[in-house]
C-alpha cells in the first residue's frame, strides 16, 4: 500500500517537473506582459512535432534535438510577438485573449493539414528501460525529462535573478514607465520574454515526445492542466509555477489511480474555479485579478 503510494507520488513528481517547465513560459509572459497566451499549449505541440520530424527525417535523437528545436522555438516566439502580440499590448482583454485563441486555432489546423490527425510518437529503445529504487520504478524517459526540466528552471532562475536581461524583464513587468526611465528598452525585454517562453517549450517538446505521442490538439489537453498549475501557484510567480506544477503532477497521478472516471477530471476543473473565486492570486501570486475595468 505505502509502496504503491510512494510509486504514485514519485511518478507524480516526475510528471509535475514537466508541468512546471511548461507553466514557466506562460507565467513568465504573464509577469512581464500581463497577458495570458491561450496558444501556449499549441506551441508545445509545434515543439513536439519538430522533435518528431528531427527524429523520423534526420534521425536525430530527441535529447539531442533540443539544440535545434529550442532556438527554432525562440525565433517562432519572437516572430509571434512582433506580428501579433506587440500590436495588441494596450488593447482590451477580449482582443488579447482572442488573438492568441485565433493563433491557436490556426496552428492546430495547420498541423492537422500537414501531419493529419494520426498520433505520432518516437520509439527509442532506451525509453523502455526502467530503474528500480527501493521498489519504486522510475522510467528513464521520465527521469531525464525531470532532470532537464529542473536544469532549465534553474538556469532561468539565474538568468532572471542575476543578469541585466533578467532584471530588465522583471522591471518591465513591475513598472514599464519606471523601467524606461532608467534606460531599459522595454520593447526588447518583452520581445525576449516572449521568445524565452516559447524556447522553454522547445526544451519541453523533445522531452515529451518519447513519453507521449503528439497530435494536433494535444495543446488543448496540456493548456488546461497548465491553467490549473499557474492559477494554483499564482499567476506571474516563478515559485508558484514550480510548486504548482509538482503539486498538480502528484494530485493528478494519485487521483487518476483511485478515481478513474471523467468525474475525476471534472473535480480538477472545479478546483480551478474554486481557487480563482476564493483566492485568485493563488499561493504566491502577485497578480491583480480583481478590479474595475475588467475587460
Amino acid at each position: 500500500m505505502s509502496e504503491l503510494l510512494a510509486q504514485l507520488v514519485v511518478s507524480g513528481v516526475l510528471l509535475g517537473g514537466l508541468y512546471a517547465l511548461i507553466s514557466l513560459g506562460l507565467t513568465l509572459v504573464y509577469g512581464s506582459l500581463h497577458l495570458i497566451n491561450f496558444a501556449h499549449g499549441d506551441y508545445l505541440m509545434i515543439a513536439m512535432y519538430l522533435a518528431w520530424i528531427c527524429f523520423t527525417t534526420f534521425h536525430i535523437n530527441p535529447y539531442l534535438s533540443i539544440v535545434i528545436v529550442t532556438p527554432v522555438m525562440f525565433v517562432a516566439g519572437v516572430l509571434t510577438y512582433l506580428v501579433l502580440i506587440r500590436p495588441v499590448l494596450r488593447s482590451a482583454h477580449i482582443v488579447q485573449v482572442f488573438i492568441t485563441f485565433g493563433l491557436g486555432i490556426i496552428v492546430q489546423n495547420v498541423a492537422l493539414i500537414a501531419f493529419t490527425g494520426e498520433e505520432r510518437s518516437v520509439d527509442l529503445p532506451i525509453a523502455r528501460s526502467v530503474y528500480s529504487v527501493g521498489g519504486v520504478k522510475i522510467t528513464y524517459t521520465a527521469l531525464v525529462a525531470f532532470a532537464v526540466a529542473l536544469a532549465a528552471a534553474g538556469l532561468l532562475y539565474l538568468l532572471m535573478r542575476y543578469t541585466f536581461l533578467g532584471k530588465s524583464i522583471r522591471a518591465t513587468g513591475q513598472n514599464p514607465l519606471a523601467a524606461q526611465l532608467v534606460g531599459i528598452n522595454t520593447n526588447v525585454a518583452r520581445l525576449i520574454t516572449f521568445g524565452l517562453s516559447s524556447a522553454l517549450l522547445g526544451i519541453a517538446g523533445p522531452m515529451l515526445i518519447p513519453i507521449y505521442s503528439t497530435y494536433p490538439t494535444i495543446g488543448n489537453d496540456f493548456i488546461l492542466i497548465i491553467f490549473i498549475v499557474i492559477v494554483l501557484g499564482g499567476l506571474g510567480s516563478f515559485r508558484g509555477a514550480i510548486v504548482g506544477g509538482l503539486t498538480i503532477g502528484v494530485v493528478q497521478t494519485v487521483s487518476n489511480y483511485y478515481l478513474h472516471s471523467p468525474i475525476n477530471q471534472a473535480l480538477m476543473f472545479l478546483l480551478l474555479i474554486l481557487i480563482l473565486v476564493i483566492r485568485p492570486s493563488g499561493m504566491f501570486g502577485q497578480a491583480r485579478l480583481v478590479g474595475s475595468g475588467g475587460r
Binding site: I94, I105, I106, L112, I113, P216, V290, G294
Partner: protein
C-alpha cells in the same frame, strides 16, 4: 451614411440568402440545413453579443448554456415524455440559474480569468454529462425519436425547424434592439464607457451585467433545444462544447461586438464561407478553421468593431482626414498671409 448603407446591405444580404434558400428548402433538405445553421449561429452569436459586446463579459462558456438547453429538453422528452416546448423553458431557466451563479461568484474577475472560469465550467458540465451515464447515457449521447407533432417539436419537413429558428432570431434581434434603447441598455452603455463613473451615478453595474449574462444564457439554451430537435441527437461533446463556445465568439467578433446586426452578419458570412470551402475541406480537413482563425485575427488587428463597424471606422477616418486637410489649408493661408 456608409454605416447605414452597410447595415442595410447586410440585412438585404440575409434576406437574399434566405429568399434564395427558401425556394430551395421545399425541394432540398441541404439548403434547409444551411439556412437553419445560419439562423442558429446568428441567434447564438447575438446572444453572445449581449454578454460580451454589451456587458463586457469575456465568456468562453456559452457551450454550458447551449448544453443545458439541449439536454433539458431532450432528457425530459425521452424520459418523462414532457413536451420539448416545456423542456425548452426548463433549459432556459436552468441556464439562467447557472449564469446567475457564474455571475455572482466570478463577474468581479478581470477578463482573462473570467474566460478561464467559464471555460472550466463548460468542461465540468461536459465531463459530468459523460461521467453520469445513468442520467445522460454518457459519451454515446441520446437519440431523439417520437411521432411527428407540434407538441413533440418533431416535424417531417425541415422548413418547419428553419421557420422556428428564424422566428427565434427575429425575436431576439427585436429584443436586443429595444434593449439597447431601454434603461438596462443605457446602464450597460454607461458601464462600458466608464465603470467608475457609472457606479458613482448609482448604477449597480454588477447586477446589470449579471442580468445581461442571464438573458444571454436563456436565449442560448432555447437555441440549443431547437437545434437538438432538428438534429435529433445530443452528446456531451456536441452540446457542452468548447468548440461551440469559441465558434460563437468568433462569429460575433468578426461581425462586430456591440453592434446590433454585426453578429448576424458574422454568422451568415462564416456559415456561407464554410459552404464555399466545403469541397476543399473534404480534401484538406481543417482548412476552413485556418481561414476562420485568420479572419478573426485580421478583424481583431484592423477592425475594432468588426465588419459592421467598418462603415463608422471609414467615416471617422474620412472626417479626420478632412479636418487635417482643412487645418493644413488654414495653416498654409496664414503662412502665406504672414509672408506677404
Amino acid at each position: 451614411m456608409p454605416d447605414r448603407l452597410l447595415r442595410a446591405a447586410g440585412v438585404v444580404l440575409v434576406l437574399v440568402v434566405l429568399g434564395f434558400a427558401g425556394q430551395a428548402v421545399a425541394v432540398n433538405s441541404y439548403y434547409a440545413t444551411v439556412v437553419f445553421s445560419m439562423c442558429f449561429w446568428a441567434t447564438t452569436a447575438t446572444a453572445y453579443n449581449l454578454s460580451a459586446g454589451y456587458a463586457g463579459e469575456l465568456s468562453l462558456g456559452h457551450g454550458a448554456f447551449l448544453g443545458l438547453g439541449a439536454y433539458s429538453s431532450t432528457l425530459l422528452f425521452t424520459r418523462g415524455h414532457i413536451s420539448p416546448w416545456l423542456g425548452m423553458l426548463v433549459g432556459a431557466a436552468l441556464a439562467s440559474f447557472v449564469a446567475l451563479v457564474i455571475g455572482v461568484i466570478a463577474i468581479r474577475l478581470r477578463g482573462p480569468y473570467f474566460a478561464i472560469v467559464t471555460l472550466a465550467v463548460v468542461l465540468v458540465f461536459n465531463l459530468f454529462a459523460a461521467g453520469l451515464p445513468k442520467l445522460t447515457q454518457g459519451a454515446i449521447g441520446v437519440n431523439i425519436s417520437g411521432k411527428p407533432s407540434f407538441a413533440n417539436v418533431i416535424f417531417t419537413h425541415h422548413w418547419a425547424y428553419v421557420l422556428l429558428m428564424f422566428g427565434l432570431l427575429v425575436l431576439v434581434l427585436a429584443g436586443l434592439r429595444s434593449l439597447v434603447r431601454s434603461r438596462l441598455g443605457y446602464q450597460l452603455a454607461a458601464y462600458r464607457e466608464n465603470e467608475d463613473a457609472a457606479r458613482s451615478l448609482g448604477i449597480a453595474t454588477t447586477r446589470v451585467r449579471v442580468v445581461a449574462l442571464m438573458v444571454s444564457a436563456a436565449v442560448t439554451a432555447v437555441a440549443g433545444s431547437l437545434q437538438v430537435q432538428f438534429i435529433q441527437f445530443v452528446s456531451p461533446d456536441s452540446a457542452f462544447s468548447v468548440g461551440f463556445s469559441v465558434q460563437v465568439a468568433l462569429m460575433a467578433i468578426i461581425g462586430g461586438l456591440g453592434t446590433v446586426y454585426g453578429p448576424v452578419l458574422g454568422a451568415v458570412l462564416i456559415v456561407y464561407l464554410g459552404q464555399l470551402l466545403q469541397p476543399l475541406v473534404e480534401r484538406l480537413a481543417g482548412l476552413d478553421q485556418v481561414v476562420y482563425g485568420a479572419i478573426l485575427i485580421a478583424v481583431l488587428l484592423f477592425l475594432r468593431r468588426g465588419i459592421a463597424g467598418l462603415g463608422r471606422q471609414l467615416r471617422l477616418r474620412a472626417r479626420l482626414d478632412r479636418a487635417w486637410e482643412a487645418g493644413a489649408a488654414r495653416f498654409a493661408t496664414r503662412v502665406k498671409d504672414g509672408a506677404s
